[in-house]
Amino acid sequence: MAYIKVPEGVPGIRSLVQFRPETGAPLYDLAQTLLRGPSPLSPAERELIAAYVSSRNNCGFCMNSHAAAARCLFGREEQVVDEVIKEKDLSSLSEKMKALLQIAGKVQQSGKSVKPEDIEAARKAGAVDQDIHDTVLIAATFSLFNRYVDGLASFTPTDPAEYAAMGERMSTHGYIFPKK
């Protein structure tokens, strides 16, 4: 049960933004702009970064929901999502995505963990400034979301079917602030 009195049965961050809509609105706005707004990275690639950081932060709700969204967006290449989360076979990923995930993993640890070599490797693999900017800010933002969701012990569903439905909705409609 969550540490504070949030709407019952509402999962994860949805329950928290309903508890405090004044802060919830900019958080949804941030998710929508970062993950669906203009970017050289596709929504699928951006959801993958989100799922990867959430996985490394061990946040089940964010990891499962964003992994589900990424699977929908990758379509026939959906297996890449589980390969990245399990950190095993990354051979189907582009060199650029591998380098950007490396940067995201550093940001997950701390800002200062990102080294010039990490940036250099991404550039050599074809990343431009905006790819790097968006990767860092997505990874930083999920360092926020993961802590918010778990720091208040919000409700985390365990049924994979629930996440599949969330992923479908997130990939089709994006992030629309939930009405009570």
Binding site: I4, L16, P26, V114, D129, H133, A140
Partner: protein
């Protein structure tokens, strides 16, 4: 020097905010509601202190000095008072409730799952409300984002700490809505 060409020479988070105003605007809006909005039972001083403490734990020079100067301004204190809290808030001359909230913020800085039911109980017994606990967790989480954004892009920061102190009264008067978006 920043890892990417921000096309401006503003310090800290203001650089990437101008570089990417679509997200910069939202980050300011979040900072405004969390730290400056008057509709809050936590004082501005207390909220800025939570941001300062988390930034200090994350070793983010720019954020801990900007927000440390804000806290110093609102507490009407000196720099030593803020530095003492960053170093050891448990023995600092602040309320037991604020200490309990800083303990929660310190756990959030390490990871969401580090917050314990005992920490929440302690804060509650000292008078913290649900919304105060919520805001403490979200402020701490938000600074884990701000700090990573600032340092992950290797932005530059003025090293003279007095610069931050001198800017604080203006920021306190204006709030965060336009922070960084004005050149």
């Amino acid at each position: 020097m920043a890892y990417i060409d921000l096309k401006n020479d503003l310090p800290g988070i203001r650089g990437p905010m101008i570089y990417r105003p679509e997200t910069g605007r939202i980050l300011n809006e979040l900072a405004e509601v969390l730290l400056h909005d008057e509709d809050n039972t936590l004082s501005r001083a207390e909220r800025e202190l939570i941001g300062t403490y988390v930034s200090s734990e994350n070793d983010c020079f720019f954020c801990q000095n900007v927000h440390g100067a804000m806290a110093q301004h609102y507490f009407n204190s000196d720099m030593d008072f803020i530095d003492g809290i960053k170093k050891d808030f448990r023995s600092a001359p602040i309320s037991p409730k604020l200490k309990a909230l800083l303990a929660i913020a310190g756990s959030v800085q390490q990871g969401g799952k580090k917050v314990t039911p005992d920490q929440i109980d302690t804060a509650r017994k000292l008078g913290a409300t649900d919304r105060e606990i919520h805001d403490t967790v979200l402020i701490a989480a938000a600074f884990c984002m701000f700090n990573r954004y600032v340092d992950g892009l290797n932005t530059w920061a003025p090293q003279d700490r007095q610069i931050y102190v001198d800017r604080a009264p203006m920021r306190a008067a204006e709030g965060y809505s336009q922070e960084g978006l004005k050149k």
